[in-house]
Symmetry: C2
Subunit: 220 residues, 2 copies
Amino acid sequence: MDTRHRILDEALTLFSEKGYANVFVADIAERVGIKAPSLYKHYKNKQAIFDAIIEEMNRRFLEQAGTLQINGADAVVDAEIYKNISEEQLITLGNDLFLYFLHDDYTRRFRKMLTIEQFHDKGLADVYMKQYVDDPLSYQGMLLGLMVSAGVLQAENVEIMTLHFYAPIYMLLTICDRDPKREAAALKTMEAHIRQFNRLYARDEGLIQDNKKRSQRKTK
Amino acid sequence: MDTRHRILDEALTLFSEKGYANVFVADIAERVGIKAPSLYKHYKNKQAIFDAIIEEMNRRFLEQAGTLQINGADAVVDAEIYKNISEEQLITLGNDLFLYFLHDDYTRRFRKMLTIEQFHDKGLADVYMKQYVDDPLSYQGMLLGLMVSAGVLQAENVEIMTLHFYAPIYMLLTICDRDPKREAAALKTMEAHIRQFNRLYARDEGLIQDNKKRSQRKTK
DNA sequence: CTTGACAGCTAATTCAAATTAGCCTAAAAT
DNA sequence: ATTTTAGGCTAATTTGAATTAGCTGTCAAG
């Protein structure tokens, strides 16, 4: 990794731990192994380093959206996969999502930085919301919708069902970001959450029919 | 309100919007209607203002704990109230909790400030976790536990049931903190969430018995 | 009525951190 | 072989916000 990128990397680490204003350019430089003035050979000023991080973040998010998120082609593929999903697979889905968000190094530092800096700049709050609230809800809403269509899950209100699936994951994530010691407990809770979600929404074969009729009457 | 308190009040507002480091003592002074140096007649320095806010926050939290939170006496009272709770009352419980957190002016600004400043100081992260994660989960866990005992709710794992109840509320709260325009939508979602929670966990009379037996077999 | 504490002000002062100036070396390009 | 450029350094300089000095008016207590 060249110096230019190492600066971004170390700056991101520091910003995510202490926030932009509490990080000195000398701190960043020291971590990179150079002196502060040398940073200015690579970036116009401190703000430019921050901006470059945001740009890089947007680039990665877009790239990720291309592979992970909704698009015509994937929807068809995903539909096949999730139509006949088992409880274990649902747990895997949740776990993978959780662990990706939690452990991917960039993702994690970006998220922590956004959490700290989001109130300075309305734009950052928007990025945060899109990335950690709206996009996951929309993507998982689509998957759960497919499972409902396939008769795997009950025909309850899908928006709320998705909230019931994702909100606990989101909450566990914010817990772990603040206190990594709680990670092991969070993982156990995650699994119990998904099992219970599955029990609630996908009950026994015998009940599915029954519940479907009842909830069709009730919802809307 | 005397100047000393108005300083705290305006400082809290500013810190909650922009974070400690991005607020100048001159900003605080201006809002109070005095000049920066005059602040020093009331507080030793900027940090002392921040500390006084935290102290005030802790005082209020303790006070609130005394009235709202678990204690032997209340548990008995609450048990009576929640034993025969209806869906509408459950919605009211959720709504009240949500609206209190959302609209109480101190609570809201404290929460936003903690969100921004929590990574500077491990102590603040702890306060945040206690106030917005652990205490609500513990209190609501108790209430839901009572409802399970009373046969109002199914005998599912109460810890997870509580997560299913509170995590969506927590998530909607963080949405509204970041973008108040989404408040109306969040309130609707809140209500739909609780109705669906109720449908899931407290099904029809006829089913309660049935599900109870089944889940006793399943859970641990 | 005068004294002193209180709470405000303007005008310094301080200080830390960002940034610029200007020099040096190595290696890439011509 | 020389010139240029990239990227590093040390030693200023600038900047901007926090804080201190020291003056002033008001009002309550003695």
